[in-house]
Subunit: 157 residues, 2 copies
Amino acid sequence: MNIGDVSRESGVSTKMIRYYEEIGLIPAAHRTEAGYRTYSDKDVHQLRFIRRARDLGFSVTQLAELLTLWSDGHRASADVKRIARQHIAELEHKIQELRAMTDALKHLAEHCHGDHRPECPILEDLAGAVEVEARHMDLTRFGAGGVDPVRRKKEIH
Amino acid sequence: MNIGDVSRESGVSTKMIRYYEEIGLIPAAHRTEAGYRTYSDKDVHQLRFIRRARDLGFSVTQLAELLTLWSDGHRASADVKRIARQHIAELEHKIQELRAMTDALKHLAEHCHGDHRPECPILEDLAGAVEVEARHMDLTRFGAGGVDPVRRKKEIH
DNA sequence: TTAGGGCTTCCAACGGTCGGAAGGTCAAGC
DNA sequence: GCTTGACCTTCCGACCGTTGGAAGCCCTAA
């Protein structure tokens, strides 16, 4: 099987398969005389494993641990469970952060009239609630939409 | 004020201030004869605005829009609300994804004994539930923990 | 033999932030 | 005036995971 075949069968792009090989997550594939990578059904199976774990949000580092455990017939399921629990904790922490953001934003958005008038509690909060009056007086000349600077390698889309 | 002062007062690192200038999010600062950037209280104000918006998870692109609106005395609050609502939707979508991951993982972890034995529903699910038997028979030789490949620029920690 | 697709490697970009090197500048203390 | 140390400058790279593209070789069917 060539790399394109395993890619289709495993759902992992050829780019990523080569990358995983490069970082040592998967062993280097055998090569044909022409230098083509060749794969077996077992490799497809392993890449599917990787794909699923990635879909569950495991990092590549965690994935390496899981693969080692997967390959170890004498593993203790406690080790797997530990990795999973740790990942769950990370995910829940992330969720908490996002929740806090959305709650704060929703609260602000609810109090914004959302009409043609310029008054907006969202901007006022971002500017700093204490300084609302000052902002109205003399801070209206800011902005990124003005004269366009040089913009070397990156720019805002 | 030098860049270090604004950084301390705004909570935005000097690295990021230079970066924001480079991508055109903020205008290029004035320079002293020696080439040092100089800033005013208004710049501190603006950077605080940026800091708060970033803390709320707005992307730099969205930030550019918000800054433009902030600087526009004739803006309609509806525009700000639209950006906020869009961002809320993105955040909630992300939360949903993470929720789905944690739910799936929790379900698996609950059914894992977590003891010394190798049997583990977490790994079995990752390997593909249908092929559990096959895995036990002949797929135990996989793994990233084997012979360490060359590892050029990147490696797994 | 030619055309097309697949394969190879290498280089860069994305977003946002940080670390560090190499060198110039400024203030204080001697 | 000189040294010291904190600050500033630019430039380059790393992080993580993924994608895009270029340039060139290989394979197969027509």
